[in-house]
């Protein structure tokens, strides 16, 4: 049966989308920002809906003493591309050799890496939200500036919405294809 191999190839190809589209987006909404401020997180850079987005986010953040988001200071943006490339290549290797354990190894390790990635993302958010400059012009007693990992949260006058973006959805799809492939591969051997 060829289906698991096709699916794992597809899963690998889908990962290429991470080099094209952002994985995650954080949108800040407030009345005086009718279009919202939408920050895009890629595997290798931080951008936004407009070229000035990162600067605009940093301008907002500096009032409360949040650290300046500078892509150069985030090492993950350097680690992630080779990891993704690794999973693209190994997806093909899995497909070529077509061994059950390989399917399992690819899938489980990818889910593990993804979980670590999300936890790491949470840590960054925690750090930005809590390590505030004591000289910040505005201080809000008891307010938390940590954006949500996923979902919606009110942060002073802003509503922050954190959701996967196109790349993130393709990553999810890739994992699902990997799951189906692994399931079919396992079922076939059993049968």
């Amino acid at each position: 049966m060829k289906l698991p191999r096709i699916l794992i190839f597809l899963a690998g190809i889908l990962l290429i989308s991470l080099f094209i589209w952002p994985m995650w987006k954080i949108t800040l909404l407030a009345p005086q920002y009718p279009d919202g401020v939408q920050m895009h997180i890629y595997i290798n850079k931080i951008g936004g809906k407009t070229p000035g987005t990162l600067q605009n986010v940093n301008i907002l953040n500096h009032y409360i003493g949040m650290k300046k988001i500078t892509p150069e200071s985030i090492p993950e943006l350097k680690y992630m591309p080779p990891i993704v490339i690794f999973y693209i290549i190994t997806a093909f290797i899995v497909g070529i050799f077509n061994k059950k354990w390989m399917y399992w190894a690819w899938l489980i390790s990818l889910i593990l890496v993804l979980s670590i990635g999300l936890y790491d993302f949470y840590l960054w958010e925690y750090d930005y939200g809590h390590s505030l400059d004591p000289k910040a012009p505005m201080k809000f007693e008891g307010a938390s500036f940590q954006p949500p990992l996923i979902g919606r949260k009110e942060i002073i006058n802003f509503t922050a919405i954190s959701l996967p973006h196109i790349g993130g959805y393709f990553l999810g799809l890739s994992i699902m294809l990997g799951m189906v492939a692994t399931y079919l591969k396992s079922k076939k051997i059993k049968a």
Binding site: D35, T50, P51, G52, Q55, N56, I59, Y63, P137, M138
Partner: protein
Amino acid sequence: MKKQLYYFTAALAIIFTIAIFANSCNTSRTANTGALDNDAASAVYVAPGEYDEYYGFFSGGFSGQVSVYGLPSGRLLKVIPVFSQDAEKGYGYNEETKPMLNTTFGFIPWDDAHHPELSQTNGETDGRWLFINGNNTPRIARLDLTTFETAEIIEIPNSGGNHSSPFTTENTEYVVAGTRFSVPYPQKDVAIDSYKENFKGMLSFIKVNDEGHMEIAFQVLLPAFDYDLAHSGKGKSHGWTFFTTYNTEEKHTLLEVNASQNDKDFIAAINWKKAEEYIAQGKYKEIPAEHYSNRYDEKSHIATSTLQKTVKVLTPEDCPGLVYFLPTPKSPHGVDVDPSGEYIIGNGKLSADLTVHSFTKMLAAIENKDFETTIASVPVLKYDKVVSGVVTKPGLGPLHTEFDNDGNAYTTFFISSEIVKWKLGTWEVLDRIPAYYSVGHLMIPGGDSKKPDGKYMVALNKITKDRYLPTGPEMNHSAQLYDISGDKMKLLLDFPTIGEPHYAQGILASKITSKSKKFYPLEENEHPHRALGEKDTKVVRDGSEVHIYMTSIRSHFAPDNIEGIKVGDKVFIHLTNLEQDFDVPHGFAIQGARTAELLVMPGQTETMYWEPQREGVVPFYCTDFCSALHQEMQGYIRVSPAGSSTELKWSMGEPDEEL
């Protein structure tokens, strides 16, 4: 006797009471709402946060500017500085825009703006540019409708009073300029009463290229009439431009009487396609005629002023078939061409009737040489061979006509203060409605193009009187908005305007909104004194000239402490706004600077010139409330005595803080 006295007293009391009552009635004001419909309010109501359907570009008249209104709400959206310095925006005050107001007479801080005209493609408004003429020191400006800023101003030589302008051709091949006041040609010191001998009237055709840049293609030398208004042909009459004339009597004094004697003056019809042929054949004289062309560059954010030395002049003697005169009663003001291009309406302002010429008949009359006479080599066509029809006694003092898309024309009557709707072809009057008061131009969006949008009409009035709350002797001119979608015109709204709204143009907002710029990308900034980040900020001294490269971003300037400036220095403060977000300008003002503020858009660089006069420490600050810490957006410059040895230094933040 006693009884009689009683009656007499009672009668007196009654008369007295009636007199007081009657008097109080006479002096109480009854508002003239012109039978306002109940639904008028909802027709002009644009809910908060909603947009108007149309942009209206109104001439600022003697303010020299253009004001932009939303229609139908009558909301003022922006005032765009064009021919006058504008302290609010620093236009004509900052170093970058001063060259925009340069002329062969030097820097002129004002003009009298008259007729806005939108650019057209295939006879339809296209939303690229808006042109407007300066009447006093003849000029034409082009406004860029992606930025709503003045992008270019060209001076028109050999002209005095650029009134019949700019009136584009159907693909914006040309905008035109006609001299309202004839002047000696070439300009020289002569006796005024040598008018007939020495004075000439010059019509100019200004080529507009694909980037919108203007240059004078040619001028046409004509008799010393007053060339009042113009409109270019469209459709079948594309290739021709029509100018009205008055003072064909060629008088130079007491014109109100002396220039009103002839029963008929002329509409001058210029065949500009023929002119192009004559230019190609070299049948022109290239004469010295210095004039300035001033262009603002959106990348460098700097205007440059270039002196042009000559113009090409065509004369009717050398160029037969270039110009014809169409006799038109009496001192016609506006000349308006209907959407089909067939009818040429001469609004004879001292005539009881409205004269409509036929373009087809005009061509036939030219073909058959139906000439009444010839004036200065210009054939005068026979009146009855070119007239298509006459609207008889429609009102008093016709000035201007615009059109809807159903074959109707709308003419303003200054003296009878009304707008009259009439039918093209049958010449019957269909409806009339008062204007408050003494209407000049009118505007229907696209109403002078091939595709009018016959939904709204605006009356642009000369007199305001009691329309609004009194504001002392001077009041803003009034405008009224009418619904013209039905058989009957309906008054919807009355609103004040800025300066004098001679003419206006309207356009569907959707033709402009998607192209409207939100900010200038920093990476495209080519200003020679830009600072693209705080690390680029510096202060450079060259003798007594000091250049400060400063940046602004919410909510600080960099640098914000500067020392080593001396009394008598010539200081140039180049401020780059580092913001890259919509609607975040920063202002800049410094105490004692004898100029206006800077108002710098995101991504832009602007320069203030300052000569410090006194020793001390002077504050500067951001003038446009930009952010929660706007009040903190300030700094100091230390001014030391001339010749002092104070070291030049600049900083922002404490030494341990990161820039």
